[in-house]
Amino acid sequence: MIETLITVLSALMLLTGGAFAVIGGVGVVRFPDVYTRLHAGGVTDTIAPLLIVGGLVLQSGWHLLSFKLLLILLFLLFTTPTASHATARAAMAAGIEPVTRDGRSASGDSSSNT
């Protein structure tokens, strides 16, 4: 009984994780500029691994494998913001103005003074 429940829960987590990964990918194509696309990439970077690793940990149970899976999640959650930030900083430094809703561009004046 419990086993079936865990299998179903883990399958649900894997499926929703996969769905979020696809949504993130669709967002990368749909959004207008590099900054907004980074946000869409963030969906694939955060909730998709959370749900997929969570589902896999449920499959493996109290096993050394779970420790390894959680380590993957930990490293992923620490490194992806750094990569996102580096991309955004590089885009700012290259002088790419973010698009805003009403077409005017927000000031990116502080990007160069570090």
Partner: protein, 160 residues
């Protein structure tokens, strides 16, 4: 000395967790690897209070739990925006950074970036403000209430 001890303990736990094969030869190889890494960090003089896992408190676990909740909420908001791109209102705002330590400031900036819908594009060199690109109007409001910043200050050890 304390830093080298905690580094060695962390590395031993990591090695034991990743290995899974517990034979004398592999124990010896693991011990040699740990010793080599500790010796190299000593030679490179890179070890300091910032890298000491023993300075982390139970507050970190509470903060991570809260952060995962925030990440899930903002993921749902961004996923809805992907399915209906007319929702997006990209804005660039400046937010004050009130953390006292460099570790706290980086934790705050990294937490903002980790949460989908907001990316820190710039952190002032003196660390008192940051520039954030936000995708949705809700995210801007969330940053202005400073809920996350206050939690990072609490994580630094400030009483709430």
């Amino acid at each position: 000395m304390r830093y080298y001890f905690t580094l060695a303990v962390t590395l031993v736990i990591l090695w034991l967790g990743l290995s899974g094969v517990y034979k004398p030869l592999l124990f010896a190889l693991g011990a040699a690897s740990v010793a080599l890494v500790v010796w190299l960090t000593e030679r490179m003089e890179v070890l300091g209070a910032e890298h000491d896992p023993a300075t982390l408190s139970w507050r970190l676990l509470v903060y991570w739990g809260w952060l995962v909740g925030q990440v899930i909420l903002s993921n749902i908001a961004v996923a809805r925006a992907v399915l209906d791109p007319r929702r997006i209102q990209p804005t660039l705002i400046q937010v004050p950074v009130r953390q006292q330590t460099n570790m706290g400031r980086v934790t705050y900036a990294n937490s903002i970036t980790l949460t989908p819908g907001t990316v820190t594009t710039w952190l002032a060199s003196n660390g008192d403000r940051a520039q954030v690109h936000a995708l949705l109007a809700d995210a801007v409001e969330g940053l202005e209430t400073d809920a996350m910043g206050q939690r990072v200050q609490w994580l630094e050890g400030k009483p709430r």
